[in-house]
């Protein structure tokens, strides 16, 4: 029987305030890292992460290690907190006024800090691709050059090189090299999403977060993005949120299953889809709910 803790929000909030005020009344939290082979090369280390939107707790005591140069997928029913967890990794949740986070997240062994400069540096290291492809209303070239340029790169030759390399990395170069000065919005949906990936990797991140990057795309474009994700893991650590279990099975080395703000199970993708440890995971992947 699966042991899923579903805390009542008010209860956990009390626990939270007690712990922050006195620091004593709460029993010390245990780490529950999963120790798996292949996890010895950690890129992201999450320890006892709690997350709140106002009064509502959206993530409950999450601990996990995301290994370097692998594809890790988060799956789970709608509203279980996949995007929230993903957005904790590059502190995008800071932009939500009511958001509050507790626990530690290390990227490449370095703790996250709070100053705006540090958050900005962190976001350069942890890039993001969004669900809805959203190139800027600029040229293809300007979309890719946007990040490096604002971070101070002025050398035209170097910018050209970054644009070319980034577009090559997403297999878009051959399709657009003759029209770099056309608007990015003139491309097809799949091309626009690849342009967005190129824009993200142009600032040379170490981790690439993707929140349902294919949900607005046709199957052919989806296949291309999946191929890309697998290829890109040589250089980047990929974390992808998906509604599509087949997609996770196809491209992810590791998969985490989430439910109601809990990380129920995390491990090798093959194993999770063939021999899940928890009943809830099994129910979800066999389609009994969600």
């Amino acid at each position: 029987m699966a042991k899923i803790k579903v805390k009542a929000p008010s209860q956990s909030l009390n626990a939270f305030s007690t712990s922050s005020e006195t620091g004593k009344t709460l029993p010390p939290k245990k780490k529950n890292h999963l120790t798996l082979p292949g996890l010895e090369n950690p890129m992201v280390e999450i320890e006892n992460l709690d997350f709140y939107y106002g009064e509502k707790q959206a993530l409950n005591d999450i601990s996990m290690i995301i290994p370097k140069n692998k594809v890790t997928a988060f799956i789970g029913p709608s509203g279980c907190g996949k995007s929230t967890l993903l957005r904790c990794l590059n502190r995008m949740n800071d932009l939500v006024e009511s958001a509050r986070m507790q626990g530690t997240i290390k990227i490449g062994g370095v703790n996250m800090h709070n100053s705006p400069e540090d958050v900005s540096v962190l976001r350069k290291r942890v890039g993001m691709v969004f669900q809805k492809f959203n190139p800027f209303p600029k040229t293809i070239y300007e979309n890719v050059a946007y990040g490096p340029r604002i971070h101070g790169l002025k050398n035209k030759a170097k910018l050209d090189e970054i644009v070319e390399n980034s577009l090559k990395s997403v297999a878009l170069w051959d399709e657009v090299k003759d029209r770099l000065n056309d608007s990015g919005l003139g491309l097809s949906g799949g091309q626009q999403q690849r342009l967005c990936i190129a824009r993200a990797i142009a600032v040379e991140p170490e981790v690439l977060l993707m929140d349902e990057p294919c949900s607005a795309l046709d199957p052919l474009s989806t296949g291309k993005i999946e191929e890309l994700a697998v290829g890109l893991k040589e250089k980047y650590t990929i974390v992808i949120v998906t509604h599509n279990m087949q997609q996770a099975a196809r491209i992810a080395d590791f998969t985490g299953f989430m439910l109601l703000g809990d990380l129920v199970e995390f491990g090798f993708t093959d194993r999770m889809f063939t021999k899940p440890e928890k009943k809830a995971t099994e129910d979800y992947i066999t389609g009994r709910f969600g």
């Binding site: 995008m92 705006p116 400069e117 900005s120 976001r123 350069k124 604002i150 971070h151 824009r199």
Partner: protein, 271 residues
Amino acid sequence: MAFISLATVVMLFAFLVQQSLSVIAAEKWNFLFGLDWWAGETYGALPMIYGSLMVTGLALILVLPLALGGAVFTSEYLPARYRLWIKGLMELFAGVPGIIYGLLGVALLGGWVKNTFGLIDGNTLLTAALLLGIMVLPTIMTLAEDALHAVPGQYRDTAFSLGLMKWQVVLSAVIPKALPGIAGAVFLGLGRAMGETIAVMLVIGGLDKIPDPWFNVFASGQSIPSKLGREAAEAIGTDLQWSALMALGLTLFLMVMILTFMGNFFLKRAQ
């Protein structure tokens, strides 16, 4: 509805044209380019056209930094719960009748300009521009704020996710995306400023003359609406003078139309 308003505009336009015919026949191009306006003798409208353009243009230059700064601050930096307060306040200011601004201009602004710049007369092109600037500030600011506020969150998110600082996000992602809307706000504000009559009439000095040099904004001047306001009553019943005022009205009508058209064009494009 659209048809009725279009028909009204066309009829108004036709009426103005018909009423202008006799002065156009008498003055030809001298109406647009003549420098002298003596009722009963000659009707050259250039000083008034100049006055309108100068006063509105200067008002824009003076007020734009403040209006845009206020819009950016309200939309991007002010906590959301204060935003509607500011918006409400701006609407309140925008609704104050022009005559009230005019009285305040006479009571305070004229004297201030006179003393600050050591002039004999405080009723100048600059005074009118300052007053107009104050009058259209709320309109431009609130419309520009709407444009900024309407920029989808995803543009901000994307820019933040590339490691940009807040001010970089605002400058490089939000403002460019809002630019058509901001341009629309500016043109609509200008249209409003150009048509403003009573407040300008009270502080512009009422001199039908282009100053020498032309950019001497410490001189008195005359805008088209202030000229119309001053002379309409005396011209009723005359032939040529009335026609000249109608032609002046037609000119103003066209100028304001262009601004409004540009404003709506940009606002449409912004959506």
